[in-house]
């Protein structure tokens, strides 16, 4: 009786628990995406009069997408975003791993204070962090040599933007890896110590391979974040001539929709970016899974 009753209950209850999340996902993620796709196939057409006394929404087919793909600025913005990603992601992953391993080392002191200090930048909202870093970069207010080093030069701007983004997320990634390290069984490390391995050897040969799944996860998250780069360049834009309003793809989506009043073009750019992000996520996830499987086999 208990087994049959349990099976009947368990077939309904999981659905019930997941339903609210699925509902929210459908309402606030899928439905807007479908509506955005619908908008991207439309355009606004003015007819009649000097100032367009009648404006209507007409079917535009793929012309918005054609405009996006044929615009050299779109490809430049993709390039710039990838450049910031290429600088930012390896630095994030490397520093997060380094800090986590240091925090977990045997002789580590002041670990609680260090963890807090590392995590604090993550608690600062992205826009505020960008503004503060802007003050640190501008020659007029910079305590870090802004009068000598041009932080807003054509080459240096990528490092500038990447720096702000990396500074914000290092703490979060460090905590993730530190937690993974803490979850490792201590026996292997103790055995290695008994065998005479140094801290460095334990870190590199024993701990690092075991947290490889966590490292690949934070790499994937960093990649997804990098594709959505928006806060840092937008907040820094008023401070410099180096950042245009379409510097990265997401800025272009914002600029199309809310500055140029072309919500249809913006929807096309947004949907293109969505497809690219999903593709990268799927590819990245598959690569991570393959890495983990190879690791554990």
């Amino acid at each position: 009786m208990a087994v049959a009753g349990r099976r009947k209950h368990s077939s309904k209850l999981p659905v019930l628990f997941v339903a609210p999340a699925l509902l929210l996902l459908a309402l606030f993620t899928f439905a807007p995406a479908i509506y955005a796709f619908y908008l991207s196939l439309m355009k606004s057409h003015v007819s009649g009069g000097l100032l367009g006394t009648s404006t209507e929404q007409v079917f535009a087919g793929a012309s918005n997408y054609a405009n996006t793909f044929s615009d050299p600025q779109f490809w430049s913005s993709l390039e710039r975003m990838l450049l910031v990603a290429v600088i930012g992601i390896p630095v994030t992953v490397f520093l997060a791993t380094l800090f986590a391993l240091c925090l977990d080392a045997n002789g580590a002191r002041l670990t609680t204070v260090s963890r807090l200090a590392l995590f604090l930048p993550y608690a600062v909202p992205g826009v505020i962090a960008s503004l503060l870093w802007g003050f640190l970069y501008l020659p007029a207010t910079s305590p870090i040599g802004g009068g000598v080093i041009d932080y807003f030069g054509n080459r240096t701007i990528f490092f500038t933007v990447a720096n702000v983004a990396v500074w914000g997320v290092i703490g979060f990634n460090t905590v993730v890896l530190y937690t993974a390290l803490r979850a490792l069984p201590p026996d292997i490390c103790r055995a290695a110590e008994v065998d005479g391995a140094s801290e460095l050897q334990i870190a590199l040969r024993i701990k690092l391979p075991q947290i490889a799944p966590a490292i690949s996860m934070i790499s994937l998250f960093s990649l997804i974040n990098a594709l959505q780069l928006f806060n840092e360049p937008t907040a820094l834009k008023p401070l410099t001539n180096a950042i245009t309003s379409t510097w990265v793809p997401l800025m272009r989506v914002y600029s199309d929709s809310f500055v140029n009043n072309d919500i249809y073009g913006g929807a096309a750019s947004a949907f293109t970016l969505l497809v690219m992000t999903v593709a990268v996520t799927v590819a990245g996830g598959a690569a991570a899974t393959r890495l983990t499987r190879r690791q554990s086999s």
């Binding site: 003015v46 000097l50 367009g52 007029a140 008023p238 410099t240 001539n241 245009t244 140029n260 009043n261």
Partner: protein, 443 residues
């Protein structure tokens, strides 16, 4: 087992209920922050909302509220100014949640009309032709309809640091050639100082300079547009400034950034090509230099020419979302064309009125607080205003033009490339956008 399952079920239901209440709370608060003009109750008080970013507006609105108990107006300070606000108005117009009245700068009005954000006011207003000069009316009247009431004129004005000019024995430049040589002298005397900056962040600034040179970026005949942003007059202006920037005597930094405000405050920038409203903004930009600036007429292309362009200036409009257009029009008319309304604007917002009769108000005898060292500030404005020249008409997609200007000229400054190239980018972007939207364009 069954009892703990029931408890789980209750907990889940409780969480769902709490979430629903929270969501309902969020949605009701956002709808009440929109237009509240539908709340005319049985006591027949009409409630209107106005959005306006100028400092000092609360005094104007509360004076109206005291004398008009049957029409109460609430001031909403917008989260953004200029195009941030205009695009919000266009978006919210689709939802019908715009405030009843808004301030709209003259250059944005055609775009607002094209997006059906504002309504014609002919049926609610008396004839404005006795109150305003034709030049002001041309900015709000299109094809027989009046879409707003002009508030002010903002001719471009040259501000300079009195002490720096005195120290170097310089007179304020009356021609652009003299401006160029003054800029060189100032920068040579102190390499940290500049007479001004080329502003890639303010397209209307550059448009005003083009107006002075005789440009017409847009012209309309019948229902057809002609776009000529890179016409000869504008190219002349672009080349002039390119020479100054390339020569290193004018700073390339964008206005309104922290860097620029610090430079203005510290005296690294000793001149500003601005407009009549500058004293209203100076306290935010360079508070410790109060009283140290003098205003003068903008340099001219030929000596003695009084032609000058405008930067800014606005009309008040009634939006399509308004449920009480008659009362809203009444407020707009009081604020911008009555003696009482204009006196309040002059006193609290440092406005220079477009209405002819108000340009000799006694309120204008005192200068704005920031220009305390120049008692004749407003009479200077009155004499400069006689030479104002505008474009024939502003385009229906001026926001695209302005956004393209900022990008193109910022790149040109950053990469030391040609301003003429940037100008033709702006021209082609504007033209393509108008064609894409379906406007009739020649060329």
């Amino acid at each position: 087992m069954r009892s703990s399952l029931a408890r789980h079920g209750t907990v889940a239901a409780g969480i769902l209920a709490a979430a629903t209440v929270a969501l309902a709370g969020c949605s009701s608060s956002s709808s009440s922050s929109g237009a509240s003009s539908s709340s005319a109750g049985s006591n027949q008080v009409v409630h209107l909302t106005i959005t306006d970013w100028d400092n000092g507006m609360p005094a104007v609105v509360s004076a109206w509220n005291k004398s008009h108990p049957d029409i109460q107006v609430q001031l909403i300070k917008p989260t953004g100014t200029g195009y941030t606000l205009y695009n919000k108005l266009i978006t919210d117009n689709r939802a019908g949640t715009n405030p009843d009245i808004s301030e709209i700068e003259y250059q944005a009005l055609p775009e607002m009309i094209a997006n059906k954000v504002v309504i014609p006011l002919n049926q609610y207003l008396p004839s404005l032709s006795s109150t305003y000069p034709q030049a002001a009316l041309d900015l709000v009247q299109f094809q027989g309809s009046t879409y707003g009431v002009p508030q002010n004129i903002c001719p471009m004005v040259f501000f300079y640091r009195t002490d720096v000019f005195k120290k170097l024995g310089l007179q304020p430049p009356t021609t652009w050639a003299q401006y160029a040589s003054d800029a060189a002298k100032i920068h040579k005397a102190n390499p940290k100082e500049y007479l001004g900056n080329f502003d890639a962040a303010d397209p209307e600034w550059f448009a005003g300079l083009a107006q002075q040179a005789g440009a017409n970026w847009w012209t309309a005949s019948g229902n057809t547009w002609t776009v000529a942003i890179n016409d000869a007059a504008t190219q002349k202006v672009a080349n002039y400034w390119q020479g100054l920037v390339n020569g290193g005597v004018i700073s390339p930094e964008p206005s309104w950034s922290t860097q620029w405000m610090t430079d203005m405050n510290k005296g690294n920038l000793v001149g500003w090509i601005s407009a009549q409203w500058a004293p209203n903004q100076f306290p935010t930009i360079a508070p410790s230099t109060s009283g140290q600036w003098t205003a003068a007429a903008l340099p001219a292309w030929t000596a003695g020419d009084k032609t000058v362009g405008t930067w800014g200036g606005e009309a008040e409009v009634v939006t399509t979302s308004s449920k009480h257009p008659k009362q809203a029009a009444e407020f707009v008319q009081w604020m911008n064309s009555s003696q009482q309304g204009l006196n309040l604007l002059i006193k609290n917002v440092d406005v220079f009125p477009a209405a002819t009769f108000a340009q000799s108000s006694p309120e204008l005898q005192t200068p704005p607080p920031f220009m305390s060292g120049q008692a004749g500030y407003n009479s200077l404005m009155a004499s400069i205003a006689t030479g104002v020249r505008n474009f024939q008409i502003w385009g229906p997609d001026a926001s695209v033009t302005f956004s393209s200007y900022s990008d193109a000229f910022a790149s040109a400054l950053q990469n030391h490339s040609s301003f003429l190239g940037a100008l033709s980018t702006v021209q082609s972007t504007t033209l393509n956008d108008m064609k894409h939207a379906g406007f009739q364009v020649t060329g």
